[in-house]
């Protein structure tokens, strides 16, 4: 009913006022959401220009943007982005490709889950960064050890979330399917799998965050290319605007990955009110 009155009112109004009202609405919603962030950035810019904060540590945003632009235009940062994406992407894909099927399988077979859980917990509690030297010894200082350490850390969130999702499937729904004569395979495809999707997504988002975290750490320790390396390198060379440019790029990468996953989740989990 409210919807109707709003709509007829809008139709009656002249188009210009309508557009104005709509822009106003969008602006207000945007301000409510991003106002604080904008204020923060503004404070940074002003504070740095007027010397309220140390401009050598926090250069004004325009200088950071210039450094970012130069880096992108010269292709240097593009190169770093590409190699970082490749490392984290490869590791993430491998972790997801192994973690989801393994988790689906393990979650269904309690005996196997019980047997593997202690060792999984042990591995999970052993920080991947602590194991990085081991991986370097095994795989050398090249790409393989970097991708592997990211993969290692990324595997556990998705694997454990998938196992949890499968284990928490409502037994009553499974029984319902059984009374209609559903086979194990049908129950898996039509009940267990869809019911696990929300927790699989929780795992995917955790894994994506972990992948970026480990990427930066791995690139800071033993790399000569990549965004994580660039952050350290720029700092050594006192190119502070470039350092911040790389940091912003990393933040952007994380935000993008999360946004993609959230959209995918909305798409696949429209039925659940959790999203």
């Amino acid at each position: 009913m409210t919807l109707e009155t709003v709509e007829t009112g809008a139709l009656a109004a002249p188009p210009i006022r309508l557009a104005g009202a709509r822009i106003g609405q969008v602006a207000r919603a945007g301000l409510a959401r991003y106002g604080l962030l904008l204020g923060f950035l503004l404070l940074w810019q002003l504070g740095s220009t007027f010397g309220w904060i140390n401009p050598t540590v926090f250069p004004p945003l325009d200088r950071i943007l210039v450094a970012l632009w130069n880096g992108l235009a010269s292709g240097a940062l593009i190169d770093d982005i590409a190699i970082s994406l490749q490392r984290s992407g490869l590791a993430f894909a491998a972790a997801v490709g192994l973690g989801i099927p393994l988790g689906l399988f393990m979650g269904q077979i309690p005996a196997m889950e019980r047997a593997l859980d202690p060792i999984l917990q042990f591995f999970r509690q052993t920080s991947a960064l602590a194991l990085y030297p081991v991986f370097i010894l095994l795989l050398g200082l090249g790409e393989a050890s970097k991708v592997f350490v990211i993969f290692w850390a990324t595997l556990f969130p998705i694997l454990l979330a998938t196992i949890g999702g499968v284990k928490e499937v409502d037994r009553k729904l499974v029984e319902m399917a059984r009374t209609y004569g559903a086979t194990r395979a049908t129950i898996f495809r039509r009940v267990v799998l869809p019911a696990s999707v929300p927790s699989i997504f929780v795992g995917l988002r955790l894994s994506a965050t972990t992948a970026l975290l480990l990427l930066i750490a791995a690139e800071m320790i033993g790399a000569n290319r990549g965004l994580g390396f660039q952050v350290m390198n720029a700092q050594y060379n006192f190119q502070i605007p470039l350092m911040f440019a790389a940091i912003f790029l990393l933040a952007g990468l994380g935000l993008t990955a999360n946004a993609v996953l959230v959209r995918l989740q909305r798409r696949l989990c429209r039925w659940s009110d959790a999203v």
Partner: protein
């Protein structure tokens, strides 16, 4: 939609010397002891009894979800083991798949049994109308009320056109008003579909309203006694014969 195939035995249930026990904390618990029961084709049988006397267990054995220790269940004269196509179960909770719409949920049983999606959906729509949910075909379970969700569960069971409908306190979770309407609907559906109905309930009035016979189970393991409900249908809850029967059943429970 009474099916034309009026073979003599359709949905006839025979229970012979049925026993079932559970082990609970190392102790043996005899839940069902030597049950004999005949349910005629198209009959409506209600099962009542105190909590924990084994009503759900009996229904689960009939559904094929539990194997009896001893004795036999026969349907249309043939012994059955495990789950079968003649039977459909309606639980106390609707047990809908939350990621499927009403139509998809109602088609689920048929699809699982190998029917193609289009014809399953076609049939589903018929039963959605029958349970009074026309217009909600594309709703998701979280958008339905408790009574509506339970109707979807009932429609899903009817869509596979079972000979025997097994119901375990199907209206137990509903409020008093919705319950009354749903009882009327169940009576109508049972009449229109001509299925055998075995209904576990806590509600004596519901049992008398719906059933041809009421089976009273007890915890002591006495053989359960069926009581004839010879009240003409459609039944009026305030008719003297109805009230008299209710009094008699209450007396069976020791509630005067």
């Amino acid at each position: 939609m009474t099916t034309a195939t009026t073979t003599v035995r359709r949905g006839e249930v025979t229970i012979r010397d049925l026993s079932k026990s559970f082990t609970l904390n190392g102790r043996r618990l005899d839940v069902l002891r030597g049950i004999h029961l005949d349910v005629a084709s198209g009959e409506a049988l209600a099962i009542v009894g105190p909590s924990g006397c084994g009503k759900t267990t009996l229904l689960r054995v009939l559904a094929g979800l539990e194997e009896p220790d001893r004795g036999e269940v026969m349907i249309d004269g043939a012994p059955v083991h495990g789950i079968g196509r003649q039977r459909a179960v309606i639980f106390q909770e609707p047990r809908l798949l939350p990621w499927l719409t009403v139509t998809q949920n109602v088609s689920f049983g048929l699809e699982v049994r190998g029917q193609d999606r289009a014809s399953a959906a076609e049939k589903a729509r018929h039963y959605i109308r029958l349970v009074g949910l026309a217009g909600f075909e594309d709703a998701y379970p979280r958008q339905l009320s408790g009574g509506m969700a339970q109707r979807v569960g009932i429609a899903r069971a009817l869509t596979v056109q079972p000979e025997i409908l097994l119901l375990d306190e199907p209206l137990g979770a509903l409020d008093a008003m919705t319950k009354l309407t749903m009882q009327e609907e169940l009576a109508r559906i049972w009449r229109e579909e001509g299925v055998t109905m075995i209904l576990v309930t806590h509600d004596l009035e519901e049992a008398i309203f719906l059933a041809d016979r009421v089976l009273v189970m007890s915890k002591s393991g006495h053989p359960p006694r069926p009581i004839e409900i010879d009240v003409p249908r459609p039944r009026d809850r305030s008719a003297p014969s109805f009230v008299a029967l209710r009094r008699r059943l209450m007396a069976e429970f020791g509630l005067h």
